[in-house]
Each structure stands twice: as C-alpha cells, then as structure tokens.
Amino acid sequence: MARKLIDIARILRSKNAGPLYVTFDIMFDTRKELEQVLSSDRVNQRVIADLYGVNPEDVSIIPYMVVNAFKITIPRNYISGDLQDDDIYGCQQHLKLANIVIP
C-alpha cells in the first residue's frame, strides 16, 4: 500500500548544517522501512533537486544504517539570514519531503 514518507518515518527533520547547507534526517523504526524507502527509488538526487530547486549533483543522500536512517544534504538557495531567506535555522524545510509517495 502506497504511503507518504511522513507516515512511514519516525523522525523527519531539517536543520542548517552551517549557514550554507540544509540537512535532512529521515529515521525509521525498522530496517525494513528504511530499505523499502531506499529501494523504491522515489527519493533520489533528481527528485530532491526538483523539489528544492538545486542541481542534482549537489544533492547528497547517505544511508545511516545504525539508526535505520538516511540523510539528505543540499545547498541552501539563500544563505541563512540573506534578504530572501525565510528560515534562518532551516528547521522547517522538510515538508516537501513529507509528501513523497512511497509505493
């Protein structure tokens, strides 16, 4: 049954990794859920690049098996605190990921 990423994940968060990058942590209760999401290929560099308006080659996606998680890091479109920035801490950037549908 297809579910949204937010409904599968236990933790779905974003935060600055320094003022130039935003990093997303997506954690699951089980290894099976993590593998289901990773193997679905619905969360890849191209998808993230389109969602956030960045270049695919600038998107880093790294599984972190220790806590059944994976991490996505992208450059900020606006540096923290620049005139066009609207999220200084970068902690409300995760919602675009939340609605990705995982088959």
Binding site: I11, K15, N16, T23, V66, V67, A69, P75, I79, L83
Partner: protein, 450 residues
C-alpha cells in the same frame, strides 16, 4: 576522565538536581558552549548575544563558583553567542560580577579569535581561502566585513589549561573543542574524544526525553566513552546517541574538524544499562593540511517591517498584483531614493493562492520587509509601501475601505541593522594557534589580579 556539559547552550537553563548529581560524580572538567551561527549573521555582525543576560548569569552562578572552589576546570566556548571580542567582553563582565559577589579566587584565560581583514586578504592572495559552498570571498567582500572570527580548535584551550588556569573563556571555538581539548590533553584517543565531544555539545539532546536544557556526563577511557544523563528522568539510548551524532552534519560517517576527520564507520554503540550508552571504534584521521573555518559578516542596511493580515479572499488572490503595483509606485513617487539603496520583499504566510481558488476558508499574514541603506530610507520606503498596499485599488475590489488588517499601531516596526554572512570559508593554516590570542588574568577573593 569525567567531563560534564551543563547544557546545549549557556543561558538555555538546566535542572539544579542534575547539576548536583554532576558534582557528586567528582568531574574532572565542566564545559558549556555559549554560541552558534544558527541564529544567523546578525549576532556576529552586531556584537550582541542571542541569549538573555539574566539567563546566562543564572546558568553560570550555580555552576561556576562551585567548580572554581573545587578546582574543577571550567571551559566556555564561543562566548557571548558569536565569539568576537565584544561577545567575549560581554561574558567576561557577567563572570566578573559573579567572581566579585562570591569573592572567588582563581586564574583564567581569555582566548580571542578575532581575525583582521589584512590576515584574510593575505590568505586570499595566497590561495589559502577555500569556499565551502556558494558564498564567494573577494577582496571587496573581505574589505566590507565588519567582523571576522576564526573557529578555533583544541590547541589554544590546551595551551590555557597547560598554563594552569581554572577558567577558560574562549571566543569563537569549535563546539567539540570544549570537551575534546581536556580529554586529548590528558592523553585520550582523539577519535573518541572528538566523537564524545560532538555528542555532548548539545547537552542532553542524546537522551530520552531529549533536552538541550540539561546536564550530561561523558566519561572517556582508553578504548571507549560512556554517556550518562545527570537528570534521573532522562536516559541515553543507542538510537538517540547515534542519531545525535549525525545532527547538523553533512555526512553521518565523517565529522570534519580542524585537526582532521573523525571516521565513524566502525563506531560501535552499546547500551550499558537502562540509562548509559558506551561508544567505541571512532578514529581520527589527522589532516595533512590543517584548516580553520572563518566566519565574517558585513552590514547590509537597516530593516523596517509592517505586519498585516488579509481576510478577504478576493484581496488574497490579488496580493501579488498589489505588491507589484506598490513597487512601481515607490519608484515613481520616491524619486529621490535610488532603487539600489533599498530592497523590498513581500512575505506571505498562510493559505496559498491555489487553496483560495479551491474555495478554502482562511486568511493570510503578510510582512512588508524593507531593508534600506539608511534607517531613514528604510522607514520611508516601508511607510509608502504599507499605505499604498492598504489602499491599493485592484480590479474587482469590493472592500474599498482597506486591504490590510493591522494588529499594531504603529503599523511600521523599525528593526535593527541587517547583516549578512560575508565569509564562511576554510582557511589553510601552518599553525592552528595563528588566529588565537590568549590573555591571562585572575581573581583573589573577588579582586582582579594581573
């Protein structure tokens, strides 16, 4: 070696019971981080703190006199929120009040991390300045910088401890250096020391329930370290500890520090008992070329904002059109103000245009955000934008008395100066001490000594 972290940030508070438990452990060092770049460039730029003075004083008043009296070294990193000279002096004044009141006797080191524009220009010229992302450093942006600090690492803290001080107040410092420095100085494995420090630097964020406002202990041994929350209501879990390892990091397996890369691929997490987690296997790969991260800010201008609500759905649908009209009006009607001397930005919060078209009930909040070269330009542009937006006559308008619901009078809020990051770069150094300036001092029965 037992190291205590008071909390995730000086001024965030902690429970007294947890502090009491920490002292019962007979710790070797107490540390606390006092700053961050997370709140944005303003605080470094303006030389002010994002934490409240009273809250900072409270956090120090409970812990510092007792540490000093028990000869437990007390290390504070990134003083005053951003670690420039003004920030360090702000914190030193607070500590001075405590030392005088409690009639304390101790020796201290103040470590300044300010860097001159000449130093950075020289690094740029010699190709020793490396961009970390899309922020470019040029001669112009360096010259425009009003503040530049280097994120120092363990070496100046170790130098201060070697000099026999009881209290270390440091300017901009890598968060990890606070806790890694004493451990590495004592001969413990740097890989373990840095990994422990990385987890500790946020206080009890690696606990269940998590909190940045509570005390945690890290105990480092030859081949492992153990984390124990000092508040009995919390417990460290493998999941929280490992999850916190990757917090605010680009890569969960490598933590980049001035001294090298902490390799966590073979880190092993073990639940020792209900409340303690033990970690082993983390390794430091020493850097061939040592680097320090430089942070700089430049003044952008002065901000004036106006906040308003819009309830009329017809108005909501026309808000972008209104704003375009407002911008044109300003150009035509404030002819003596050059377009390049201000920027105007409309922020919309609430339902989207699509929601409204779909018949969604609801309202939006808007912020008219003006940054001008001077306070006067900023205020003038915001006043015109606000009044024009209020009365803008879009086609099909029925609510001809006004478009905006202002929650406040005055409707325009004069904010402070606006700063932007001008530097966030790695700087190759021959010696990681080259940006540190250590000044020693002391107190005897609350009186300052040389």
């Amino acid at each position: 070696m037992k190291i205590i972290v008071l909390n995730g940030l000086l001024g965030y508070g902690y429970t007294e019971e947890a502090l009491e438990n920490a002292f019962l452990q007979n710790p070797d060092v107490i540390g606390v981080d006092a700053g961050s770049t997370d709140p944005g460039p303003y605080y470094l730029g303006s030389g002010t703190s994002f934490t409240d003075r009273n809250a900072v004083k409270r956090d120090l008043e409970l812990a510092l006199p007792r540490a000093v009296k028990n000869r437990i070294p007390f290390i504070i990193g990134t003083a005053g929120g951003a670690g420039a000279q003004e920030h360090v002096e702000w914190l030193c004044k607070i500590i001075d009040e405590i030392a005088v009141k409690e009639k304390l006797t101790y020796k201290f080191a103040t470590i300044y991390s300010d860097v001159s524009t000449e130093y950075v220009l020289d690094k740029l010229k010699n190709g020793k300045l490396k961009a970390m992302g899309r922020l470019e450093a040029t001669e112009q942006t360096i010259n425009q910088s009003n503040k530049i600090v280097a994120q120092l690492s363990i070496e100046p803290v170790i130098a201060a401890l070697d000099a026999g001080v009881d209290v270390v107040i440091c300017g901009r410092l890598c968060d990890t250096a606070i806790y890694a420095a004493p451990a590495i100085r004592a001969g413990y494995d740097p890989g373990l020391a840095f990994h422990m420090a990385k987890i500790m630097e946020c206080g009890s964020m690696c606990c269940e329930p998590l909190s940045a406002s509570d005390v945690l202990m890290g105990e480092i041994e030859d081949t492992e370290f153990t984390l124990t929350p000092m508040n009995p209501i919390r417990r460290c879990t493998i999941s929280r500890v490992a999850a916190h390892t990757m917090y605010e990091q680009v890569n969960p397996y490598y933590i980049y520090e001035p001294d090298g890369v902490i390799d966590l691929k073979n880190s092993w997490y073990e639940q020792l008992d209900e409340r303690r987690v033990r970690v082993s296997g983390s390794v430091l790969q020493p850097a061939v070329q040592k680097t320090l991260k430089l942070e700089g800010t430049r003044l952008v201008g002065y901000r004036t904002i106006s906040i308003a609500g819009i309830n009329d759905h017809n108005t909501i649908l026309h808000v972008d059109e209104m704003f375009l009209g407002v911008k044109e009006f300003i150009v035509k009607n404030l002819g003596d103000i050059a377009v390049e001397d201000y920027s105007i930005n409309l922020r919309k919060y609430g339902v989207t245009d699509q929601d409204v078209e779909n018949g969604c009930e609801g309202n939006i909040g808007i912020v008219i955000d003006v940054v001008g070269k001077t306070k006067e330009i900023s205020a003038a542009v915001c006043a015109v934008a606000r009044s024009r937006m209020l009365h803008y006559d879009y086609s099909g308008r029925k609510s001809t008395a006004g478009n905006l619901a202002f929650p406040y009078s005055p409707s325009d809020i004069k904010m402070s100066a606006v700063y932007a990051f001008s530097l966030y770069h790695l700087c190759e150094v021959d010696d990681t001490m080259e940006c540190a300036n250590i000044v020693y001092g002391g107190y005897c029965d609350g009186k300052k000594t040389d």
